[in-house]
């Protein structure tokens, strides 16, 4: 099978899976097809899927960012802290975004310029950035933001479609173009495939990695702020544990954890698969650990199935000759 064929079959598999899930949801719940529910389906995980977009680039580049959820929390807490200190909300938002950018640059510095493994650096970030968020808000829950901020996160601006969903759509398009059409995207793949060869070809490996981590920090911060707007209040433990969900989405999308392969179409399908599955289970009153177990099993199965199929196919061909 050519790489192309394989990719096609991967996305085909996700598409088939998606169809099955959607049909099951429609059959099982009369509420599923409501416009409100469809919007909710995105809205409930919107921050995670926004971050999954940039995580796709990072993983294709052969790195990982475990600190995204903590950066989300950090940005929201910086925003809340500034707001509480008397800053106007727009300034507080900028402050939150800058905090995320700074965190991303910090990660990027250690990974790109010092050459530490990103797993270790961002594991430290996962603990450390959350710590800074906690220092800022301690045990308080900070709310009372102006109405427009809460509206931004909660109210639909195009029918039931919220600002967050629009931002996601725009980001998706941007990331698709960057990854599959721009020089940066090409370099992301090249570095993910063979870092040394990229370096020997004059690729500025360090600045590409730095750019990605900075972007990851910034987008995670944006997602954190959108999360704050959706919830209307901020606590130190915001978004804890989101990183696993985000990485799950990307991996299910067919992106290799070792870098160098995967595409955004797969990730887009994987987002739809997971969101619909979650929503369907939620409407069927399956929650908590059962829900995560099912998604865990799906993750394994979605890689196992094509492998098994391939094996069988090979065996069958083997018998024929």
């Amino acid at each position: 099978m050519t790489i192309l064929g394989r990719l096609k079959s991967w996305e085909g598999l996700l598409l088939g899976l998606l169809a099955v899930i959607v049909v099951m949801n429609i059959l099982r719940s009369p509420y599923f097809l409501g416009a409100g529910n469809i919007a909710n389906l995105f809205q409930l995980s919107i921050e995670k899927i926004i971050v999954a977009l940039i995580m796709t680039l990072i993983i294709i580049n052969g790195e990982i960012d475990l600190s995204v959820a903590s950066i989300m929390g950090l940005a929201a807490c910086v925003l809340a802290w500034l707001f509480q200190m008397g800053a106007s909300l727009p300034i507080a938002i900028v402050g939150g975004l800058l905090a995320g950018l700074a965190a991303g640059l910090f990660n990027g510095f250690w990974v790109a310029y010092v050459g530490l493994p990103s797993l270790a650096v961002t594991l430290a970030g996962l603990i450390g950035f959350r710590g800074i968020a906690r220092i800022l808000v301690e045990d308080r829950a900070i709310g009372g933001f102006p109405v427009w901020f809460n509206t931004l996160g909660q109210q639909g601006i195009l029918g039931p479609i919220t600002a967050s969903i629009l931002i996601f759509a725009v980001l998706f398009a941007i990331v698709a173009i960057v990854l599959h059409g721009s020089a940066l995207g090409r370099l992301v793949y090249v570095i993910g495939n063979n870092l040394q060869a990229a370096r020997y070809s004059g690729v500025r490996v360090q600045s590409v990695k730095m750019t990605l981590f900075a972007a990851s920090g910034l987008i995670a911060a944006l997602a954190g702020i959108l999360y704050a707007a959706r919830l209307g209040s901020v606590r130190g433990d915001m978004a804890t544990g989101f990183e696993l969900d985000i990485i799950t989405i990307v991996l299910l999308g067919g992106v290799s954890i070792f870098g160098g392969s995967g595409n955004l179409a797969g990730v887009g399908l994987s987002i739809l698969v997971i969101l619909n599955l979650r929503n369907g289970m939620g409407l069927a009153n399956i929650t908590g650990n059962t829900q995560t177990s099912v998604i865990g099993a799906l993750l394994i199965f979605s890689v196992l199935a094509p492998n098994l199929a391939q094996n069988l196919q090979r065996r069958w061909i083997g018998r024929k000759t």
Partner: protein, 353 residues
């Protein structure tokens, strides 16, 4: 220097440097905390690192083969809960049998991971990310979210954390810690001196080459996961003994702690290099930081931030030291002595067309 280069491997120097870092940390905290240099501090750190060390040893084996096991936290939870329930029901179960049950259960869960990775050809991070959720989900469902309580456990188990094997001048060496040390020694020697251990390194170092020379990669990867599961099972037993009170949340997050210990301990996350001893030092490093930070008179809220920074510094300084070492040792590697043999010129001549 020459002598050093010949007789000490870079990995060993790296372990020494980590040891040095731990000492620096201890001296630092000693100057910050009153009454730090007491046997209590020692005992505290020693008994707190037992569980994480045992898990980190298993994680090391898996990481050496260029894989990762994120399900260990759930395996610890499952075994602690299951064995706890078992002991609650059958009070006079033989202690050894209880330990074996824990290890066997862990090994079985590890075997599932191993099967899926080795024969299902699924990247380990995907498999174990999945089983992390699945094992925990099964635990919550099967247990009906009940709790194992200390009073349901037999006395010998509840008393186990207090059992000291030795006491040197007030420094207690608890049995559970010594168990961890024994595990470390066994696996350190095993990976250093047994062919099967060296093959873990080979696989992680260059999987293609391992396949070409015909190493049984699948069986070895499977074995690594089984061992990791078994050790997580053992850690589950220790968890049960230490905390007594086991909710279905027990062991959650241990996977990240184990990976942190392994990474700080200098095991290459992409496989092929690092040692079990290093992983233990990593666990002790993190344990020292954590336990010392609890005692530092700083706000609760500062602890995580400082811990994150310290882990980063540990990894960074280790990397810088290792780079230096590699450079030094590298020179020695590349000394290729080519004594020009007498017939060389003749042969060269013979090559001309």
């Amino acid at each position: 220097m020459k002598w050093l280069q010949r007789h000490v491997r870079p990995e060993q120097v790296r372990e020494l440097s980590l040891l040095l870092l731990i000492i620096v940390a201890v001296v630092f905290f000693g100057s910050m905390i009153d009454g730090y240099y007491t046997s209590r501090t020692f005992n505290r750190i020693v008994s707190s690192v037992a569980i994480i060390t045992i898990v980190a040893v298993g994680q090391t084996l898996v990481v050496l083969t260029r894989n990762i096991d994120l399900s260990v936290g759930s395996v610890v939870g499952c075994t602690a809960y299951f064995v706890g329930t078992l002991l609650g029901r059958y009070h006079d179960l033989n202690p050894l049998l209880a330990v074996l049950t824990a290890v066997a259960l862990g090994a079985a869960l590890g075997a599932i991971n191993g099967l899926l990775v080795a024969w299902g050809r699924i990247p380990s991070i995907i498999v174990t990310l999945g089983t992390l959720a699945i094992y925990r989900g099964i635990l919550v469902d099967l247990s009906g979210a009940r709790t194992v309580t200390t009073d349901s456990l037999p006395g010998w188990l509840v008393g186990l954390p207090r059992l000291n094997l030795m006491s040197i001048g007030g420094l207690d060496l608890p049995a559970l810690f010594m168990l961890a040390v024994a595990i470390v020694l066994i696996f350190h020697l095993g990976t250093g001196y047994l062919a099967v251990g060296r093959r873990f390194y080979a696989i992680g170092s260059n999987p293609d080459a391992a396949a070409l020379i015909g190493l049984p990669i699948r069986r070895l990867v499977f074995l690594a996961f089984v061992l990791s599961g078994a050790l997580a099972g053992l850690a589950g037993f220790v968890t049960l003994a230490r905390y007594g009170n086991i909710t279905v949340e027990s062991g959650r997050g241990l996977e990240l702690a184990a990976v942190a210990a392994v990474v700080v301990g200098g095991v290459n996350i992409f496989g092929g290099s690092g040692t079990v001893l290093g992983a233990m030092l990593g666990a002790i490093m993190i344990g020292t930081l954590e336990q010392s930070l609890y005692r530092l008179q700083i706000s609760e809220f500062w602890r995580d931030a400082i811990l994150g920074l310290l882990i980063l510094l540990a990894v960074a300084s280790d990397a810088v030291i290792l780079q230096r070492l590699r450079a030094l040792w590298g020179r020695a590697d590349l000394k290729i002595v080519t004594e020009p043999p007498a017939e060389a010129t003749v042969a060269a001549g013979a090559r001309s067309p």
